[in-house]
Amino acid sequence: MSSFMHLVRPNVLAPAVSSQNTGPISVKIHSSALLTMLEIVSKQVLNNKRVLGSLLGYRNEDGLLIEIRDAFMVPINENGDSITIDEPIHKSIYQLYKKSHPKEMVLGWFGSSNKIDDNTSLIHDFYSKGVDRAYPHPAIYLNIEYLNEQGQIISPKIMTYIGANIGQRSGTTNVSIGWKTTTINNSYIFTPVPNEIINNTISEKIAFNKFTKQNITNNTSVSSEVSNLSHLEEQLNNLQENIKIMIKFIESTNEQDRSKDENIDLIRQLSNSILNKPQLLTNPENLTKLFNDHNQDVIMIEYLTKAIKDQIELSSRLTAAAEAGKDTRQM
């Protein structure tokens, strides 16, 4: 649960942002993108150097809903106060990505740091301005805190920020004794915005759950024990286990326990959802018949689809052959 306050998007320096569409920002991180970022961060952060990359994905029309779908690393060179980002690499990887995902764009950047400092502000400024970056939209900064101040590995903490401007807007000109100078605004208030991790498809969710369930053995390789159970069978077994736990719980509670608020909520939820269960579930003959009928329907649809596909292919070949025959006769 987020313990920070986020009510509306702050004033940001981005021409695409309309002051009329102000509401809270919500960042959704696809689990595949998160895994990519964690992989980059976990490999690079061990030599205790800053690592960063670009965030890719969608943004809705008013820019309040941001979906991070992928990420890639961008090499940097940090030396004290100065930092250099390998812009050509960022540009070429993005251009390549854009070819396969034309509707996606750069949303901002991710990094791994336990504090926000001047360099964070410089990097954020890089992603907020210029071509092939988040501009004309505001950049999002995603921080994965992976090492603590003592350099020890901790469970990754993910925070997302938006940079609200401080002071005069960038590009404001100050005229001073005949010289026209441009102030570059690198000052930001990094305001936290809520994020959540989502799965794109059901199969992705299954894979992600399986991945999180795998045990990491001592030699740091992921256990590759493959279960013979189908996903359905596994789910049914889980469900049966849960029902067993529930029955055991009901049997073990006394009258006093049952009158507690949380148990009243539980019994209400269960009563509202399962008391009028379909009779079918307790009648195996009917169930078998219905399931087999359903299977037959699916097989029939597949058969018909294949037949139609073959028909279309045959028809196009016949047309092509007829056209070719006509041309030969004309000659």
Binding site: L7, I189, I264, D265, I274, Q279, L287
Partner: protein, 400 residues
């Protein structure tokens, strides 16, 4: 890490930047020249500068800025004043001039199209939330900010759903961390919930969680709860009745509103005569909701195995048309699920909400659930076998 300020300039640079904004508003460079800034930060007379900048930054000046210019300028002012004194002095004190300035520029009513460039209520909310995040969690200035935020939302009629999730989920932990007393927590919570003019289910859930934590100790709180629940489009509000609410309803059983509410949550039809003159509630709307609940109550009283009903068997309705309308409304409100057969005048029930409230004997429901779960557990074995057999069947057929 909550909000973090990163300023690229040194303090003198920031002051120069701010004074140029004030000069632009004043159309003269009088203010910047009056500051007599030295060459380095260490030579600054911080107290004198604090006074000068603080006095010059008033609501009249700020109102000349556009909405887009105001927020970054105000943050710069906060940064400068914090550097010239301390952040605690500037932000962690509700008597600080920063808050007075902010209150003076807050729009006092919803803005018209003409005001499109002037400072917006959402900008004020954004500044308050940034300051809130900059303060330590145990600071009681956070309580003051929350109160001000609620005032801004009430005056500007900002959509409640913009703030519902963030404030709704965190209000109580924030107030507890800031050592707010129970009375103040209750006052702030009810002020917050009453901003929801749609009486949404999310807010009802917030009330439910709140009454689980805090007992209802006043008539006003009970009336707030009942009024909110009866005005809500959510028909089944039995989930609101936890032990604290049930106890309060019992001890206030003579209260007119509590009488209506008791009838309502037990699925009894409410008539117009139940409403005393002093009760200001949408009568017809509540009567309609109570009819839906009465219908669901009839279904839930029947055996769990019985799933089809003839129209004639259903009481409290005069015609089949009225019944069909009621059934459709009940399905739409999520109280029941099922199918209508208009030709045979039959209703096939799939699911119905039970009226389980705290403080009553729910033994039968516990036993029903236990036996249903046992049946379900046994039937799951069947599914597994059916799927296995079907899979083998398909494999054998395709290989044959």
């Amino acid at each position: 890490m909550a909000s973090v300020i990163v300023v690229d300039n040194d303090l003198i640079g920031s002051i120069k930047e701010y004074s140029s904004v004030i000069d632009n508003i004043n159309n003269s460079n009088e203010f910047s020249s009056s500051l007599n800034l030295p060459q380095s930060d260490s030579e600054l007379n911080k107290q004198e500068l604090f006074e000068k900048i603080n006095n010059e930054s008033n609501d009249e000046k700020f109102k000349k800025l556009t909405d887009k210019e105001f927020e970054p300028t105000f943050y710069l002012l906060i940064h400068i004043l914090s550097e010239l004194s301390t952040r605690d002095q500037v932000l962690n004190d509700f008597n600080s001039t920063i808050y007075k300035k902010l209150i003076k520029v807050t729009p006092s009513q919803p803005q018209s199209l003409k005001d499109r460039k002037s400072i917006k209520s959402t900008t004020i909310l954004s500044i308050y939330s940034t300051i809130f995040n900059l303060l330590p969690t145990d600071s009681n200035t956070r309580i003051y900010i929350l109160k001000e935020i609620l005032k801004v939302i009430k005056a500007s009629k900002i959509e409640f759903n913009l703030i519902e999730k963030n404030i709704g989920n965190n209000l109580i932990p924030w107030l507890k961390e800031a050592n707010c007393n129970e009375e103040e927590i209750k006052e702030l919570f009810w002020n917050f919930v009453q901003l929801d003019s749609n009486y949404s289910k999310k807010s009802l859930n917030l009330i439910k969680n709140f009454t689980h934590l805090y007992k209802i100790t006043s008539d006003l709180e009970l009336n707030n709860l009942i009024t909110f629940a009866l005005n809500s489009k959510t028909v089944d509000v039995s989930f609101l009745i936890n032990n604290n609410v049930a106890e309060c309803l019992k001890s206030n059983s003579s209260n007119d509103l509590a009488k209506i509410f008791n009838k309502y949550i037990h699925g009894e039809v409410i008539s117009e005569s139940d409403f005393k003159e002093s009760i200001n509630l949408p009568k017809q709307f509540i009567i309609k909701k109570s009819k839906i609940l009465a219908l669901a109550k009839d279904f839930s009283n029947e055996s769990n195995e019985r799933l089809s009903f003839d129209y004639k068997e259903i009481p409290n309705v005069e015609s089949s048309f009225e019944l069909e309308e009621l059934l459709v409304d009940a399905i739409k409100s999520g109280v029941i699920e099922g199918k209508l057969n208009q030709v045979d005048e039959k209703f096939y029930l799939t699911r119905v909400n039970r009226f389980i409230v705290a403080g009553e004997d729910n033994e039968k429901n516990w036993n029903d659930i236990k036996s249903t779960l046992q049946q379900w557990k046994e039937s799951l074995n069947n599914i597994n076998e059916v799927v296995k057999a079907a899979r083998e069947n398909i494999v054998n057929n395709s290989s044959a």
